[in-house]
Homo-oligomer: 412 residues x 2
């Protein structure tokens, strides 16, 4: 017997037919003798519809009232799944965030502070199934709070931790985490396991399977996650801690996956004077404006000469960043602001990198062999990322996938 | 300064543009110095959509979970109205049924047990506007409960009583209560006042402006109601107790209005034996089957001879009633079950009837003059109803409207 949280996203809950299919999966898990709590998203499109209502109602809407409106989508799917499960002869009940309760602080992007699992223990003791709306909680003032977009993944992991679950299964419309985007590399392989840290790097560079926040929470609480498809009946990808990699995982690749992210834009400031504190003077105002700077490259100038400073910001923040920089042009004394949105960040990710030299060298050589120019580089303990012209995205991902030995022996 | 509950139905809340219009009405009432609580319905069509989901999810759905699902419609409109009111510079906030709380018992057709007005007193003390979802409450177990279709009117009246409001204004898509259906009688007049009892009779015989239950609650708590249009800026109809009829109301008509109801079907059992207890043997099983019998006519037979028994049931219950009767045919010993759905009940209603003789006589003579055959008659203290062939509906309503002096002097 295991204790399991099953989480179903909006695509899996879109309409009664799909909810019935989800109920079948839940019932099967319960019939295996497992204790099951289910976390559900709103029907696909519903949250967007509700947010649109709020935006139309007032340009600056009260986050407290916004939460009242948007939390309703998961309320509906929770009740409908409970009804469907009951119709299949199981002992299921829904528990809203304020009923459990799921304690949260803040509004619109609230943080989960704690979950009281006492109610759930009672449900399990009676052989019941609990259905819980994702994305929502209740504040200390007794107000409805929502966790921000994608928050249902976080709800599921927090619930799993609170009820000391053996596993948190995230059912979605993909069947797992792949070595890279299968649309680009047909020989991409589904990974059987990936570590939390790898998943965080893969997610933050573009593989949007799970909300980053939920992976961080799973890592902190050491909760095993499984990403799997609600539409196909086969195992997904397990996301676990380094220490949980099994013996045969010793044979796993040094590199786990290749990710890419087109949502970065390059900014270059030319003619930056060689003066102490000038870099801080550039990045301070950007940080204050909540603009997330990622890769940074500064030419080392000859003493007394001007240099260039290159960095990346999210494409959505580029106009904002340029405006902020224009305001400090006089103070800094740079010559020009050059921007380029036709860039892509390509990353090789893998915990095996820690004990293996030459990972970055392989990347640079592989790209150089194809004549791909590298604009900027960043590395972390388990990741090497390069910024390259966007037109090379597919070529770069494909050749790196091969170079790191990730290609499946037979295309699926 | 007055304390007012304003209630808006689904048509008034259907979409952001209409919610904005409602917010304007609420703001104006607050700016007059009044303390205002607003009760809202779900957007028109939303509750039907949610009920349809429940029906598709399982043929026998759990009322507890049904309530979780359908209560969401009012949750959405409450939040959206609060956002819109805030956007107009007012100090508005929403309070769900479980937050106020609105205590209720039962599910799907729950009864309001009480409303705690302490939170509202605090809101009013700070010059705030409370927005409250209609149709919902919370049970002693902390579960969401809904009041049944049209329950938002009852929510509004119960809230008005709890907060000792001066008035409960029910905004709807008609501008008041009319002497009869203006589609049949263009010279129908809007009534400035009508008593609770008259409204109950008018509602129960077909003038579906207010939920009957809400009028009964207003009568018991002596809460003045006003029915008015949210789309037209003019006074509606006040619904008050007899004692609140003003002096000039002494001049009001003996008859307040003419109503009709096509949702009745006639049942005649022929050849009923003249035996004690036979009528009870017919109506007992129907009552147990929750079939509402309205008009009853029994021919007085000569001693020892068989007679006919005629009565009406709601058309929707006719098949059910016939099946029940078929089961007891042997026991009772009647000859035939004859049914007729092509009948209409036409009623003249008015508190002035109490002190005026000849009301029924006027009705019978007026109908007889047009050759309209009366199938059955019932009377109460303030109502005379006749069952006639449905094809005479418009003619009967029109001639009775004229006969009782209800026609407007000039058509509106």
């Amino acid at each position: 017997m295991a204790r399991i949280v099953m989480k179903f996203g909006g695509t899996s809950m879109a309409g009664i037919e799909r909810i019935r299919h989800v109920a079948g999966l839940v019932k099967r898990e319960a019939e295996r003798g497992n204790q099951v709590a289910v976390v559900v998203s709103a029907m696909a499109g519903e949250t967007d519809r509700l947010i649109q209502f709020c935006r139309e109602a007032a340009s600056l809407y009260d986050p407290r009232e916004y939460d009242v409106v948007v939390a309703s989508g998961e309320q509906v799917t929770s009740g409908l799944l409970a009804i469907t499960l009951q119709g299949m002869g199981t002992n299921a009940r829904s528990y809203m965030g304020w009923q459990l309760p799921i304690r949260a602080s803040g509004h619109a992007a609230a943080l989960i502070e704690g979950i009281d699992a006492a109610v759930l223990e009672g449900v399990f003791a009676q052989g019941g199934i609990a259905v819980i709306p994702g994305f929502q909680g209740v504040t200390a003032d007794g107000d409805v709070a929502t966790l921000g977009r994608g928050g249902s993944d976080t709800s599921a992991v927090a619930l799993a931790a609170a009820m000391k679950a053996d596993r948190c299964d995230i059912y979605t419309d993909v069947d797992g985490v792949y070595t890279t985007d299968p649309r680009i590399v047909p020989r991409a392989r589904k990974l059987s396991t990936v570590t939390y840290e790898e998943m965080l790097e893969l997610a933050s560079v573009g593989a949007k399977v799970l909300q980053t926040r939920s992976v961080g929470l799973a890592m902190r609480t050491n909760m095993p996650l499984q990403v799997l498809s609600s539409f196909e009946d086969r195992p997904g990808t397990m996301i676990v801690g380094d220490e949980a990699l099994e013996d045969n995982d010793m044979e796993r690749n040094v590199i786990t996956g290749i990710a890419y992210d087109k949502n970065e834009a390059r900014v270059t400031l030319t003619g930056i004077p060689d003066r102490p504190g000038v870099v801080a003077a550039v990045f301070g105002p950007l940080a204050e404006a909540n603009i997330n700077v990622d890769m940074i490259v500064q030419n080392i100038p000859r003493p007394g000469e001007a240099s260039d400073l290159t960095f990346t910001v999210p494409t959505a923040s580029l106009a904002h960043a340029a405006a902020e920089l224009e305001q400090i042009r006089g103070e800094i004394g740079f010559t020009e602001i050059l921007t380029d949105t036709n860039v892509v960040k390509v990353s090789a990710v893998g915990v095996g990198m820690r004990s293996n030299a030459g990972i970055a060298a392989t990347m640079f050589r592989t790209l150089a062999d194809r004549g791909i120019n590298i604009v900027a580089i960043t590395t972390s303990e388990i990741k090497v990322s390069v910024l390259i012209p966007e037109e090379y995205t597919e070529l770069a991902v494909r050749v790196l996938h091969t170079a790191y030995g990730l290609d499946a022996e037979d295309a699926a």
